[in-house]
């Protein structure tokens, strides 16, 4: 890393590098701390939190698809109180940004969580307005600009931390949604959450997932994610955190060139527990190869064809 400046700013939050573990794929960091040095991560977005504990959906919760997976965990989590009590102290041992990913059934719940978290040691809040796996909640706000404006606008005053709004890709026009998040006070946006999908067990003539549908992630979604990140980054001035199918440094560089200030690595952790570190090394190697000394030398540096 000598000589290469990987620091990025997400609003007021400074990350030592642009590689963040994506929410829901990294637990609360404990499991992966056996494989990688969490101190070397730009940040960790923890498993989606709700106000009350949630059991999540019935199993099976996962199906494999071509170059991707569908999941329908349904936000199983111990609740934000238990997180603050039982998990945050562990994470705070490490020198990495802790991002609390939150989802509520109502705007009031989002606000209550934002307040609780504002009083804590976390570094940023990621408002998940886009979880496809819970009936009420997230996604109903996330799929219209009006819904996003309302929730972001109302949570903003309750949230003293850097506030990232995580967008769903299941929309007609991501630019409009991104603009709404920015206008309503988001410090940054992150995208994409999963694409709503389905898989069918033709022998049982039933959906593979007990929840019938699930969220698609992994390499399969990368082209869609990249297009949306590019569109969003060219719409808003706030930082964009890009994700969707990133497995290596080259993938991450695509998102950075498209305008992302940081990237999140999700599904790739399952295949390769060292994925976040491999992505980081890959970015560094790319910068070295092109003699770029600063990560901002590549962020948004895509030249589009006329």
């Amino acid at each position: 890393m000598k000589g290469i400046d990987l620091k990025v700013s997400i609003g007021a939050l400074k990350l030592k590098n642009p590689v963040i573990a994506a929410s829901g794929t990294f637990g609360f960091g404990r499991e992966y701390s056996e494989f990688i040095d969490l101190n070397r991560l730009g940040g960790i977005s923890v498993k989606g939190l709700t106000l009350a504990p949630r059991q999540g959906n019935k199993p099976p919760r996962i199906a494999e698809t071509p170059a991707g997976i569908l999941n329908s965990v349904g936000l199983q989590n111990p609740g934000v109180h238990a997180f603050l009590r039982d998990e945050l102290p562990f994470l705070k041992q490490y020198n990495t940004a802790v991002i609390a990913n939150i989802a509520g059934n109502t705007i009031e719940e989002y606000c209550e969580m934002a307040e609780l978290l504002s009083a804590s040691d976390i570094d940023a809040v990621e408002l998940n307005v886009s979880c496809p796996n819970v009936k009420q909640g997230g996604v109903s706000f996330g799929n219209t600009a009006a819904g996003v404006s309302e929730i972001v606008g109302r949570v903003r005053p309750c949230c003293k931390k850097t506030m990232i709004v995580k967008l769903t890709p299941n929309v007609t026009d991501i630019k409009e949604i991104a603009a709404a998040a920015e206008a309503s006070g988001a410090d940054a946006i992150s995208l994409i959450n999963t694409l709503l999908g389905m898989a069918i067990d033709i022998h049982r003539r039933k959906p593979v997932l007990a929840n019938n549908t699930g969220g698609l992630s992994g390499p399969a979604v990368k082209p869609v994610a990249l297009r949306m990140v590019y569109e969003a980054a060219n719409t808003v001035k706030i930082p964009v955190i890009g994700m969707g199918g990133i497995t290596c440094g080259e993938d991450a560089v695509e998102f950075l060139l498209a305008g992302a200030s940081a990237v999140m690595v999700g599904t790739a952790n399952f295949t390769n527990p060292h994925a976040c570190m491999d992505v980081l090394k890959g970015i560094e190697n790319y910068l070295k190869m092109y003699n770029n000394h600063c990560i901002y030398d590549i962020i948004g540096k895509l030249v589009v064809n006329q």
């Binding site: 499991e31 494989f35 996962i62 991707g68 199983q76 497995t247 399952f270 527990p273």
Partner: protein, 275 residues
């Protein structure tokens, strides 16, 4: 502590139609793995398939620093694994999960398995076998293993060598006793006491074994299966229903299991089935 390892395959052989045994050289797994634990294998070095595949550790050889996996070809992942040859390397994440409770307090031991569930049971017998060598009389090891038919019988010799009594059932009666392995167990329990029962196999079978064990008040451990994402407890996809106070909760097979005391498990949702 699990590790990501690139290990060398020493041998790969077909044991029966669509059943393969892979012997892998691994200092780390061979020294640290315990019965009931599994490894999560990458099946190709491309991006497809995305997920690793969980396979139980069937046996270890601590001296030769090897371990064995036995698996059935079910779909693309196991198909790719079956094509690997001696000399190829394989990307392994393991050892994973909580092992069976093996204790010298238990003297009369029964393992009950069906289909691909029988493989991890051999490792249990091996562990007690070691104790037995020191103290021959004290241990009594029984194995009850069930197969579809004569042609699907595998590892019979290995089981017979590893225990005192080995009884086989086949669904069609083409070898051993006709019927399910749970019948053999019931028969045996009606005339003999066991200190512990370990079971692995189709859900219906394990449920029945658990009930029978309950009836005879024999402690019983089951090894569950569920589709997995990470294999290490981070993604929460491998949920299984377990008792919690008066109610229930979703535990996770990869982290809280795969081995559970049977009275903690609620079998009503255990739809996945590797029979």
């Amino acid at each position: 502590m699990p590790k990501v390892l690139k290990e060398k395959i020493l041998r790969s052989e077909a044991l029966a139609r669509s059943i393969y045994r892979m012997t892998v050289e691994s200092e780390y797994i061979s020294q640290t793995a315990r019965p009931g634990q599994f490894v999560n294998l990458k099946c190709s070095d491309g991006i497809e398939p995305v997920l690793r595949r969980p396979i139980s550790i069937c046996r270890v050889n601590r001296e030769q620093k090897t371990f064995e996996l036995v698996f059935q070809v079910r779909g693309r992942g196991t198909e790719l694994l079956s094509r690997k040859k001696a000399g190829d390397s394989v990307d392994i994440l393991g050892p994973l999960g909580n092992p069976f409770e093996i204790s010298a307090h238990y003297k009369k031991i029964a393992v009950v398995g069906g289909g691909i569930g029988i493989f991890p049971l051999l490792f249990i017998l091996d562990e007690y076998g070691k104790h037995r060598e020191d103290n021959l009389k004290a241990f009594d090891l029984s194995a009850f293993i069930g197969f579809r038919d004569k042609d699907s019988i595998v590892l019979k010799d290995e089981f017979e060598k590893a225990c005192d009594t080995c009884r086989i059932s086949t669904e069609d009666g083409s070898a051993g006793c006709r019927g399910f392995v749970t019948g053999l167990l019931e028969e045996e329990l009606s005339r003999k006491h066991y200190d512990i029962i370990y079971t692995c196999g189709p859900t219906a079978m394990m449920k029945k074994v658990a009930e029978t064990a309950g009836l005879y008040k024999v402690p019983c451990q089951v090894s569950l299966e569920q589709r997995m994402g990470c294999g290490i407890g981070a993604c929460l996809v491998c949920a299984c229903k377990t008792k919690y106070g008066d109610g229930w909760e979703y535990s996770h097979v990869c982290k809280d299991g795969p081995v559970f005391w049977c009275d903690r498990v609620i079998f009503d949702e255990q739809v996945e089935d590797f029979g």
